[in-house]
């Protein structure tokens, strides 16, 4: 496998991002290994989504370097052209499905825009992706407004995977899902990651999915990565914010009561 030459899927060095006078990401460095699922946690409004959006080029940066698949990535304005034929796929928090297109057309959209292929093959690929994310071929004719929250996320994932990207960014994939659907979705991410050899960069607050699917977890506080490693290492971390995050009242509720 030629792709395996480069050990890191994403390398971020000394990244600075801000708005106006406010610095949101402050000299942050982060490596995402190829083929791992990295979970990113942080306070609400603490810059998790900003970091993700900067890497994929939606927000201009003030300084620092970003490498994706060993290639340096330019700054926001000329970034759109660099994502040729889908280096990455993105699952937005609300799905961001095109509401005027059917589910099938949504999944075919990246294929249609980036590649030249027959309509028959495009239909087959779309159906294949639908089935891979656990939906029925019949769902392909529905419109996004007719989908439930869980289905919307699945379709958005299918669209993100349409071009078989090497990296998938997931912005709070399980938010707004009930625990059963969230668990199913976690399992789906894990399966697809294995099947397709994906690198997954996941922004999440879901302690359960951090625990079950993530190979490593990075904690973002004060604009920096304050801790990174497997979940059990983070649980041992001495950083006050990380302690508060993983040992707060809500996370304690997940542990079985002592008495």
């Amino acid at each position: 496998m030629q792709r395996a030459a480069e050990p890191f899927a994403i390398r971020v060095r000394d990244l600075v991002v801000g708005f106006g006078r406010q610095v949101v990401i402050d000299h942050l460095s982060l490596d995402v290994r190829r083929g791992e699922i990295l979970g990113l946690v942080g306070a609400s409004g603490g810059g998790k989504s900003v970091l993700m959006r900067t890497i994929i080029g939606l927000i201009p940066r003030w300084g620092g370097e970003i490498e994706v698949m060993g290639k340096p990535i330019g700054d926001a304005p000329d970034r759109a052209t660099q994502n040729v034929a889908g280096q990455w796929g993105i699952l937005f928090q609300q799905g961001a499905l095109f509401s005027s297109l059917t589910v099938r057309q949504n999944i075919q959209f990246p294929l249609r825009e980036n590649l030249v292929m027959s309509q028959a093959l495009m239909n087959e690929i779309a159906t294949a992706k639908l089935e891979m994310v656990g939906l029925a071929p019949e769902d392909g004719d529905k419109f996004p407004s007719e989908l439930s929250g869980g289905m919307t996320k699945r379709v958005a994932l299918a669209r993100a995977l349409a071009l078989d990207p090497a990296i998938v960014f997931l912005d709070e994939p399980t938010s707004g899902l009930d625990p059963i659907s969230a668990g199913d979705f976690d399992a789906l991410i894990k399966t697809l990651q294995k099947t397709l050899g994906l690198t997954v960069f996941m922004v999440t607050h879901d302690l359960a999915s951090l625990n079950t699917v993530c190979d490593r977890v990075a904690a973002l506080a004060d604009g920096k990565i304050v801790a990174i490693g497997p979940m059990r290492e983070l649980l041992q971390s001495e950083h006050p914010w990380v302690r508060a995050y993983f040992h707060g009242k809500r996370s304690q509720m997940l542990q079985p009561r002592a008495s």
């Binding site: 509401s99 891979m132 050899g197």
Partner: protein
């Protein structure tokens, strides 16, 4: 980085061995489709097919599916087929692809086109009835909440009413003045140009005055308001509906009609007669300017001719229509806004419908008023 994909077919007796090599990934799709298409005839002829994937060094869902499709094609013809030489890191992908596209739903048969057109016609007719029902329902609801406000005047949303008046009335004045001024000027120019042939230039003033006051002033202003304020009402209420704000209001025990619709419609009903008056004056001014510059008629004569040609009746006919047109625009705009479903597309569609429908109804209403005023001799 990606090596060129190749597919070699080696027949040996009854066996056809297919050896895909190189990068079977989505970026090479055009080439891959040609390759797989080319071997299909040979595949159909041979009794046993074997796909040897040992030479594939890159594979993604698309490539995997194309190979799976080849093997499936052989299998479907009653021949035996197998896939061998799958690299370990691709085995789960091939396994996954083997499961997909197994049960394609039967395509729904296309309906008879003539019947489909008839069906559309029928649905449209039923739709008209539903439209009338929705309009009446909104009129009734508005009337009920008006009665409620009259009983308890303090429940009137006064701030909202004033704000809406500011938006649809005050802020609309510049554009209304500009448009009606131009319309008045154009009518006057056309009048002078054509009436000159009969030496009846002075009658241009009669035409401008009566047309503007009775018909055009109110009509132009109403159409502009439908496009400007009606559409914004629909879009506002529609996006509130989409974001469940209207449901939130109802659950707090508030009537969305009283809170949202009544101030908007009331503001329109107040603003449209005022805008009509201002617009008519601007049109008459435009006509007068053209009369002086193009028709060589002094302002004094223009005003004197207007004085002779017009009566208060013409003014009344125009201004009386304005509140009714405002009511129609407001009701259509608000009821279409409340009919918005979940999607952004539906919001756009409803906004278009609102503008088209309210302009249409304004013109129809104008026709009824023409008959009515004619029969009472105004």
């Amino acid at each position: 980085m990606a090596s060129e994909p190749v597919l070699t077919a080696t027949p040996s007796g009854n066996l056809l061995e297919l050896r895909p090599e190189g990068a079977w990934i989505a970026t090479n799709v055009a080439r891959l489709e040609d390759l797989t298409g080319a071997v299909v005839p040979e595949l159909d002829r041979s009794e046993t097919a074997r796909v040897n994937m040992a030479g594939v060094d890159e594979l993604d869902t698309l490539g995997a599916w194309l190979l799976e499709k080849l093997s499936r094609r052989a299998a479907s013809a009653g021949h035996s087929s197998e896939i061998i030489g799958i690299a370990d890191n691709y085995s789960s992908l091939m396994e996954e692809v083997r499961q997909v596209n197994r049960h394609n739903p039967a395509p729904t048969p296309a309906p008879n086109p003539a019947l489909a057109k008839l069906g559309d016609l029928g649905r449209a007719s039923v739709g008209v009835r539903a439209d009338i029902a929705v309009f009446m329902e909104m009129l009734g609801a508005l009337f009920m909440s008006l009665i409620g406000v009259m009983r308890r005047p303090r429940t009137l949303r006064f701030t909202s009413l004033v704000y809406q008046l500011y938006r649809v009335g005050w802020q609309a004045i510049p554009i209304m003045v500009l448009i009606t001024f131009l319309i008045g000027a154009i009518i006057a120019q056309q009048g002078f140009f054509h009436f000159r042939k009969f030496g009846a230039e002075s009658y241009t003033v009669d035409m401008v005055g009566i047309l503007v006051l009775r018909e055009l002033g109110v009509l132009i202003v109403a159409i502009m308001v439908a496009g400007r304020s009606g559409s914004s009402y629909t879009a506002e209420l529609g996006s509130m509906k989409m974001r469940e704000e209207i449901d939130a209001l109802s659950t707090m025990g508030l009537d969305p009609i009283a809170v949202l619709v009544l101030p908007r419609v009331a503001a329109l009903v107040c603003a449209l007669p005022i805008l009509t008056f201002i617009g008519s004056m601007a049109a008459l001014y435009g006509g007068g300017l053209v009369a002086q510059l193009y028709g060589d008629m002094s302002p004094a004569i223009y005003i004197a001719r207007l004085h002779e040609a017009l009566s208060v009746t013409s003014f009344k006919v125009g201004i009386l229509k304005a509140p009714f047109m405002a009511l129609v625009i407001g009701i259509v705009a608000c009821s279409e806004g409340l009919r918005v479903q979940g999607s952004a597309e539906s919001l756009g569609r409803q906004t278009t419908t609102s503008v088209v429908k309210s302009i249409f109804l304004v013109i129809v209403l104008d026709g009824f008023f023409a008959i009515f005023f004619a029969s009472i001799g105004m």
